[in-house]
């Protein structure tokens, strides 16, 4: 009786062993990549919206302030999605017949919501709070990217836990003066563009942002001529520190904004309850 397997089967068998290993590894890698891919995280995706609202047009073009629409960003966990009323404030006067705005007018007339699709969608077991971030020196663009350059809204970052923890473990790399929170073009201090900060009258009960004053132009060189009229005495110039790197500024702000320690910020109950 002839052999069922000839000698070449041995090689095949060895090869299949190696192949199996490779397949398992590549499957793992694929799944891992898949998990981090925009397909799952939705990074960079622009879902269909009832109105192709352009942040670029409204923010960069018209100069609307973020909080004009996202009213509760400093007060609440939600930044807030504007009610139809906010749109109608202007669009009852301009572009009143634009086809694109038909859903807005319809909503206004029928008293039914414009149903947007959520772009930044955290899992339901994550309790994120906008207000504490904005009040402690995190800018909009740090998480949302250059919204002022987005004709259609998309998610800049993964919003995965790893990404959250990257900052919670080392907030210094993203902190900026609270006064710059809504500055979409903020880049952090550098040799070319230093930042000067001073601290005055730090005390309990006074929000930290009010004690820290930061400027992007050198203090003392500010044009104050128009202000220094007779009878008005300018407050004495506090001691300003010059920062030329994000790290230095970040550490300075951590101290003066009383940012909690990384072990506290990355404790589970901060985001999960």
């Amino acid at each position: 009786m002839a052999q069922i397997f000839d000698r070449s089967s041995n090689a095949l068998a060895r090869m299949s062993l190696v192949l199996t290993g490779l397949i398992v590894i590549s499957l793992g890698v694929t799944l891992d990549q898949l998990q981090r891919s925009p397909w799952v995280t939705r990074q960079g995706q622009r879902p269909d919206q009832p109105v192709p609202f352009s942040h670029k047009h409204h923010v960069q073009g018209l100069g609307l302030q973020c909080q004009y629409c996202h009213t509760s960003v400093e007060k609440s966990s939600y930044a807030g999605i504007p009610p139809t009323k906010t749109c109608i404030n202007c669009h009852s006067q301009i572009w009143t017949n634009a086809n694109l705005l038909e859903p807005v007018r319809k909503s206004w007339a029928t008293n039914e919501s414009i149903v947007w699709t959520k772009v930044h969608d955290l899992p339901d077991y994550v309790y994120f709070n906008h207000s504490i971030h904005v009040n402690k020196g995190l800018g909009c663009s740090s998480c949302h990217g250059r919204v002022d350059l987005m004709p259609l809204m998309y998610q800049q970052n993964t919003l995965q836990m790893e990404w959250c923890l990257n900052c919670h473990r080392d907030p210094a790399k993203n902190l900026r003066p609270v006064s710059q929170a809504y500055n979409m073009a903020w880049e952090g201090p550098s040799k070319e563009k230093p930042v000067w900060c001073s601290v005055s009258d730090e005390k309990t009960g006074k929000p930290t942002a009010q004690s820290v004053d930061c400027q992007t132009s050198e203090p003392g060189k500010v044009e104050v001529a128009s202000l220094s009229m007779a009878g008005i005495t300018l407050p004495t110039m506090a001691n300003y520190t010059k920062f030329t790197s994000q790290r230095e500024l970040g550490n300075y702000l951590i101290d003066h904004y009383k940012i909690r320690k990384p072990n506290e910020l990355s404790s589970c109950e901060v985001c999960h309850r």
């Binding site: 509760s72 139809t84 699709t117 930290t208």
Partner: protein
């Protein structure tokens, strides 16, 4: 009728069984593999399947009625598993955002609003502050500014939240069982009213629960003018026949009382007793600092209650003996003109009476006698007379001058039934009442109701009465409608709606207003016009301003009852003679959890272990151990109780300290049309309750075949009984109780012992102490906040309000009776009851037990995935998403406070329940461990606000849900690093100890040892009673 009732109960269960898995199984037969899933989808829409799934996976609304075969169970489980697995491989679906069209000005999404309102409970309004998230009420709590309850609440009040979102509430008006519109009803009703104008409304009858609303009373008074012959009968099954319903509403001030006597008055266990919140607070306040003197509580009671078990001295008497005992006491303290019936008191009872008399007399003017409301009216009259004789009137007792009365409710109902039977009733409108279920059995209300030409039922559910009535109109919940109510002290609170009626419900105000000249006037306008003059007077004639103030504060100024010391006419008090000592007495009481049956369909209350017995999901005939032996039955056996030919079958359960030869039957169970939760639970005690004996009667009880699986959540007394059965017979302590003593789980002392040795709680071998340095590792240093809790065991009365508060705050699931029976109930907080002393006359210690947040937590060390970890502030936190369900932590927890989701207990489907959830707490899914989190969501919120304002969290800024609900202020929470905080002060107290301190777990929750204040005359060797059995 009665034996039918028992059988009916069983039949009902069988019907439900037939509804469940069998049909699904038939449908699925032959369908295998992948196709199965598609079939589920197809089946999902059918009501049979929904019913089956609802029973298969018990959730916040559904009860698991019948044991399911393992095979069927696995089939459905695998179905849901596979679906879950499939969902895990796909992306999360797009989530829509529905912004407002016009956002309300004062709404900041993500920030809760708080509105003042009140819960109109039968025994008096409970002023509330309701938390509202985007205008959905999500938490009901007491109004902290209201002088009556200072923010505390009770089980009923807490549970009204689930009552509002009950998916079984009726959603449409019906006529003869078919859906119709409210306007159809209104048309017919108006036609009848117009026709009735000519003859003064003859034949027009109204039956209602007691009118708690002054506006409703006013509206009715006006309607009566237009229709003088229309009749109103008020009937509250729990209150009919009480002195309270007849208008006697004495105001007690326990803060000034050194000696308190409760004459069958259970004023510490729940809102069933008028003034519960205030009485409990004042009682507890006088026990917080024993060094400054304590009160002493005596209790004479017919059924063991937390009041009796908290009392320094408790005398168990059969219900019919209590009026005679009160009369004997009255004679002894010198009340003139009382003829106490001749009765042979035992030596022990005589001794109790003389010691009590002496103590009361010695504390004349500083004592108080509180009468029970479920007693013969003579007890209330005698208590008043004793208080008067002791000079307590105006010191610890005042009489409310203008208490409202709903008359003799029983006579009223009897008259109505007579008129029904005589064919005089043309229209009968039943407002929020359920007489077919709860009217006295001898009146046979159901038959009588059929004789009304037209019957109308306004109710929240299509209940027993709703099913019989021709018209049914859905009622609006109190959180959905305008009304008003008086609190115990008379202060009027305006009830303002928190949400639009979910199902377009209407109120009694609407139906009564329809009789008046302006039938369209809304309840809102009606309430405003009732109080227009009062408010205008108080606020300098500016009504609108005053009205807004009243709504904001939660009460209308200057509406408290005027105190009146006017003595009631000293009529001769007729004291009934006790029944013969051989007679078997039956006591009827509203249930501590579901009251008269109105909260039957509230899962939180059904699953709540009742005080004293720790029985959930059922009622049972409660008897003493000796009576159990005498009847020749065992716990869980079925008794047939016969009263005057009427019969009911009930399971039997021992209540420690129950008087012999009597049984307590709790009302409110055995409902057939309560809804998915309440139907079929327990037995119906109304079947043997007659109009001539609403509170106690005599009857017989015999054992019948069968067993009733009862769900008792403590193992405590069971152990004791098995020990007794094992032939020992002498033991007076269960295993746990023994451990409680030898390991110092419960620590207490008498006032004398405490004075001699204030540090008793942490001394001696049996009272191990936490030793901080007894560790190999360096102690973690908690730098900023360090959260801790102090629970005062001297104050805790075991009323359970905290548990229901915890349910609402933390989205805790209801699991169903079968799951409770196998120990899977999910309450994060339980109240351990440790009985002390004589079996037949025990004292008890109530110990609220939740996660102790050990600094050295045994659970954390065994979790393989780091799902339970310590935060830098010392909270032992659960990370649900990490949990894989090994349950090692629960096994390693010495306090047994961890709860595991064995099945999908949380309801993710029912729409109305989604509205109810606390949005700040995850709803836990199957396979996840959970436990008390110290309300970490509240801590986080406070921390964020404090950080924004650059300050430390203030003491008292974080209040846990249990602390908030507690009427006795037994729970204090805060930062123990702040040495000036209330909790730090309490934890530093000498009486504070840790439970199981010998394990060196270093709990953050610590207990303040109880100090009792016994009367030395009664403290001597307790009288030996016969053991429970054998």
């Amino acid at each position: 009728m009665s034996s039918e009732g028992g059988n009916g109960m069983m039949r009902k269960n069988e019907e439900q069984k037939a509804l469940t898995l069998d049909q699904v199984r038939t449908k699925l037969e032959g369908v295998k593999g992948k196709r199965y899933w598609r079939s589920i989808d197809e089946l999902a829409g059918t009501p049979e399947f929904e019913a089956a799934v609802a029973k298969e996976f018990p959730d916040a609304a559904a009860e698991w009625v019948d044991p399911v075969s393992r095979r069927g169970f696995l089939k459905l489980m695998s179905a849901s598993l596979a679906l879950a697995g499939l969902a895990g491989c796909t992306k999360q679906p797009d989530e829509p955002i529905y912004p407002y069209v016009k956002q309300p000005e004062d709404l900041v999404l993500g920030k809760a609003n708080y509105f003042a309102t009140a819960h109109p409970f039968a025994t008096g309004g409970v002023p509330l502050l309701v938390k509202s998230d985007a205008y959905r009420p999500i938490k009901v709590d007491g109004n902290p500014d209201h002088a009556y309850n200072l923010g505390s609440s009770d089980v009923f009040t807490q549970a009204t939240l689930l009552d509002l979102y009950d998916p079984d509430r009726s959603q449409h008006a019906t006529v003869r069982g078919t859906t119709t519109e409210y306007v159809e009803f209104l048309e017919a009703y108006r036609e009848r009213l117009n026709a009735g104008k000519a003859n003064g409304g003859e034949g027009l009858y109204f039956l209602s629960t007691s009118f708690t609303s002054p506006t409703l009373q006013r509206q009715w008074a006006e309607a009566q003018k237009a229709y003088p012959k229309a009749k109103l009968v008020q009937y509250d099954p729990a209150l009919a026949g009480t002195a309270f319903a007849a208008g006697l509403n004495p105001q007690f001030s326990l803060d000034k009382a050194d000696v308190i006597l409760a004459l069958d008055a259970d004023f510490l266990s729940g809102a069933g007793y008028p003034g519960f919140h205030k009485l409990t607070r004042e009682y507890a306040a006088r026990r917080k600092n024993p060094a400054k003197g304590m009160n002493r509580l005596y209790s004479v009671e017919s059924t063991p209650s937390t009041t009796g078990l908290k009392a320094e001295h408790r005398l168990g008497l059969r219900a019919s003996e209590i009026p005679a005992f009160a009369a004997a006491l009255a004679t002894a303290v010198g009340v003139p003109g009382v003829s106490a019936p001749n009765y042979s008191w035992s030596a022990e009872q005589t001794k109790f009476l003389s010691a009590l008399t002496k103590d009361l007399k010695a504390n004349a003017g500083k004592s108080v006698v509180i009468p029970g409301i479920y007693q013969d009216p003579s007890v209330a009259a005698l208590a008043l007379a004793i208080n008067k004789a002791l000079g307590n009137i105006d010191a610890t007792v005042s009489l409310a001058g203008e208490a409202s009365t709903s008359g003799d409710q029983i006579a009223g109902l009897k008259g109505l039934v007579a008129d029904l039977n005589a064919g005089k009733v043309d229209w009968l409108v039943m407002l929020n009442s359920n007489p077919v279920y709860d009217a006295p059995a001898d009146l046979d209300f159901k038959t009588a109701l059929g004789k009304a030409k037209v019957s109308v039922h306004l109710g929240s559910h299509i209940d027993e009465t709703g099913a019989e009535a021709i018209w049914h109109v859905p009622a609006a919940h109190y959180l959905e409608s305008w009304s008003d109510v008086r609190a115990y002290d008379g202060t009027v609170s305006v009830i303002q709606p928190m949400i639009e009626p979910l199902y377009g419900g209407h109120t009694a105000h609407d139906l009564i207003q329809a009789m008046l000249d302006e039938p369209q006037t809304s309840a809102y306008e009606a309430v405003r016009s009732t109080w227009k003059s009062t408010i205008s007077k108080g606020s300098g004639a500016d009504f609108e301003l005053g009205w807004r103030k009243a709504l904001h504060a939660g009460w209308i100024e200057d509406t408290k009852y005027a105190a009146s010391s006017a003595a009631t006419a000293a009529t001769a008090i007729k004291v009934p003679t006790p029944s013969s000592k051989d007679a078997f007495e039956l006591i009827f009481r509203p249930d501590p959890n579901i009251y008269d049956g109105r909260y039957s369909n509230v899962g939180w209350l059904q699953e709540l272990p009742k005080p004293v017995t720790n029985l959930a999901w059922d009622n049972a005939a409660l008897v003493s151990g000796a009576t159990l032996t005498k009847l020749g039955v065992d716990e869980g056996d079925i008794l047939e109780i016969t009263v005057g030919g009427r019969k009911v079958k009930t399971p039997v359960l021992v209540a420690p300290g129950h008087p012999d030869n009597s049984a307590t039957l709790h009302l409110g169970y055995g409902r057939e049309a309560a809804g998915r939760v309440g139907s079929g639970a327990g037995f119906n005690a109304y079947l043997v309750r007659t109009s001539d004996a609403p509170f106690y009667t005599t009857g017989t009880a015999v054992k019948v075949e069968g067993k009733w699986g009862i769900a008792v959540t403590k193992s405590h007394f069971q152990d004791l009984r098995s020990k007794v059965e094992g032939g020992d017979g002498s033991g007076t302590h269960s295993l746990e109780a023994n451990e409680a003593e030898t390991r110092g789980v419960i620590r207490s002392a008498t006032l004398e012992e405490f004075k001699a040795n204030p540090g008793f709680a942490n001394e001696g071998e049996e009272h191990p102490k936490v030793e901080r340095d007894n560790t190999l590792f360096a102690n973690w240093e908690y730098k900023d906040n360090a959260w801790g809790m102090s629970i005062d065991l001297n104050s805790c009365t075991g009323c359970n309000a905290c548990i229901v508060g915890c349910y609402a705050e933390n989205n805790i699931a209801v699991v169903g009776k079968q799951q409770v029976r196998i120990g899977r109930n999910m309450q994060w907080l339980r109240i351990d009851t440790y009985f002390e002393g004589d079996l037949a006359a025990p004292k008890a210690h109530f110990q609220p037990m939740a996660c102790q947040h050990c600094e050295n937590a045994p659970c954390e060390q065994v979790c393989p995935v780091g799902a339970t970890v310590h935060t830098p502030e010392g909270i032992n936190t659960m990370v649900y998403n990490r949990c894989v369900g090994t349950r090692y932590c629960a096994n390693n927890c010495p306090y047994k406070v961890r709860r595991f989701n064995f099945l999908l207990f949380s309801d993710f489907e029912t729409e109305s329940l989604k509205l109810m959830r606390n949005p700040d707490v995850s709803v836990r899914s199957r396979g996840v461990m959970e436990k008390c989190s110290y309300c970490v969501q509240r801590i986080s919120e406070a921390k964020i606000e404090a950080d924004k304002e650059n300050r430390a969290i203030r003491d008292g800024e974080v209040v846990t849900a249990c602390q908030q609900a507690c009427p006795a202020s037994a729970i204090t929470f805060g930062n123990i690093n702040d040495k000036t905080s209330k909790v730090a002060t309490l934890l530093a107290d000498e009486r504070t100890y840790s439970v199981l301190a010998d394990l060196n777990t270093r709990p953050r929750t610590q207990y303040t040892a109880a100090v009792l204040n016994p009367n030395p005359e009664l403290a001597e060797a307790p009288v030996e009673h016969a053991p429970a059995k054998g």
